[in-house]
């Protein structure tokens, strides 16, 4: 990959962001630990009856993942804005939307993927029926990138403001709710023995739409935030 070419730039950006996460790995683990803590606190609060836990298990895991993703969202462009890297990204010869896609990819790889990996463990903890776990994993693989993409759009809009945390939550939550409904819908359908492809297809459609549109929208919003 030639330096300065589009693929070279994407590789350089992904490498840099992964390196940054690695250098701050203590902080990077926080959202993962948060989700595990939330999920493991439910049995203590609700009592250990397997039937009761099994009924809420998939919902608890989905909400825990969604909230932990929200925790890290504000940091997505914040440090780049504060140290001027964002200006350099905007002035780079490559399309900004593509570079932002790389940043969103790294965000997903470092916040959502570790949680998907530990999901089987959480499922055991909450007595999730075994036939639901594969569907839950597929749901997570479809919905977490979608959440990252939607989140990135909203962060790009609010990053120019100081103390934008509350506003970001207000912007993001209504957009997250449909994703949560479809994701939970798929899991509940399997648990009730009903067909579950429709919600998964909806999630897939949402993901492919936002894969194309969210980076473009984020790029436009970031340019507004910078001025």
């Amino acid at each position: 990959m030639r330096p300065g070419s589009t693929s070279g730039a994407c590789a350089a950006l992904i490498k840099r962001d992964l390196l940054l996460v690695w250098r701050r790995r203590g902080d990077a683990l926080n959202p993962v630990l948060f989700a595990i803590m939330v999920a493991s606190l439910f049995p203590f609060a609700l009592g250990p009856e397997p039937e009761q836990l099994a009924r809420i298990a998939s919902g608890v895991i989905l909400v825990a993942l969604l909230l932990s993703g929200l925790l890290t969202l504000d940091a997505l462009f914040r440090s780049d804005l504060e140290d001027g890297s964002l200006e350099q990204l905007v002035l780079a010869p490559q399309p900004l939307s593509l570079l932002l896609s790389c940043k969103i990819l790294v965000h997903w790889l470092t916040t959502a993927l570790p949680l998907i990996v530990v999901t089987p463990l959480l499922a055991q903890l909450l007595h999730l029926p075994e036939n639901v776990l594969p569907v839950l994993l597929v749901t997570l693989l479809l919905s977490t990138p979608l959440l990252s993409l939607i989140g990135a759009m909203c962060v790009a809009l609010t990053v120019g403001m100081r103390r934008s945390g509350m506003l970001l939550a207000l912007l993001v939550l209504p957009l997250y709710v449909p994703v949560l409904i479809f994701a939970a819908g798929a899991c509940n359908a399997v648990q009730a023995g009903l067909p579950h492809t429709a919600p998964l297809l909806w999630l897939g459609a949402g993901l492919s739409l936002s894969l194309v549109l969210a980076p473009l929208a984020s790029a436009a919003a970031l340019k507004i935030s910078l001025s």
């Binding site: 490498k15 840099r16 940054l20 504060e82 001027g84 890297s85 350099q88 010869p93």
Partner: protein, 213 residues
């Protein structure tokens, strides 16, 4: 597109009736000027006169409120900027957790590399030999500035927009900036720098643009 300035009469950078308003408050302008290859131009003005804003407008980060900017005779858009403009602002765009070399490697990946140069040689050229692997967080403000200057050296761009390039630098550093500017001008580049006058560009007699309130 590169080196078109050598054959065509178009100036490298041209501003016509350029104005910038923020919330209907005029920041600078109207401003008319042209820059040719090999020219170093100094923007002078008091604090708050709009020097930084002018550089941001010229780099394409901010849209001008009025007037137009032409690069090699073509209207300026961010898409056309590729490999032509380098901006060094108050924020250096360096990652504090990464070493100087890692920061430069990223900049090269993004913007490309000038021929016959390497990050190590560029760092040596700005006086940072032996600091290649040190995280930028541990460098002083002047040394960080030098890392950013090394980036300027490595990444190809015909127009340099430098915001207070002398800030935080010692006497050697100021001479270093002047040396870099002279070399850049000899190689057919152009540079626009802001200064509040304390450490102005000394070699030659640069053209000056005065910004007033």
């Amino acid at each position: 597109m590169p080196h078109a300035d050598l054959q065509t009469p178009h100036p490298l950078l041209e501003a016509r009736a350029l104005r910038f308003l923020r919330n209907d408050e005029p920041i600078f302008g109207p401003l008319d000027f042209a820059m040719h290859a090999g020219e170093i131009v100094l923007i002078e003005g008091d604090n708050g006169a709009g020097k930084t804003t002018l550089l941001k407008v010229l780099s394409g980060l901010l849209p001008p409120s009025d007037g137009e900017i032409r690069l090699h005779g073509d209207p300026l858009t961010l898409a056309k900027l590729s490999h032509q403009v380098a901006l060094l602002g108050h924020l250096l765009g360096l990652k504090l957790e990464l070493s100087a070399l890692e920061n430069l490697a990223f900049a090269i990946g993004l913007g490309g590399l000038r021929p016959r140069l390497s990050p190590t040689s560029a760092l040596a050229g700005v006086g940072l030999q032996g600091f290649e692997e040190v995280p930028v967080r541990l460098l002083s403000a002047g040394q960080r500035k030098r890392v950013a200057l090394a980036r300027l050296l490595l990444v190809p761009a015909s127009l340099w927009l430098l915001d207070e390039p002398y800030a935080n630098l010692d006497r050697d550093g100021i001479e270093l900036v002047n040396r870099l500017l002279d070399r850049h001008a000899r190689e057919g580049g152009a540079a626009l720098l802001t200064s509040h006058g304390a450490y102005a560009y000394t070699s030659g007699a640069p053209r000056r643009i005065k910004l007033k309130h």
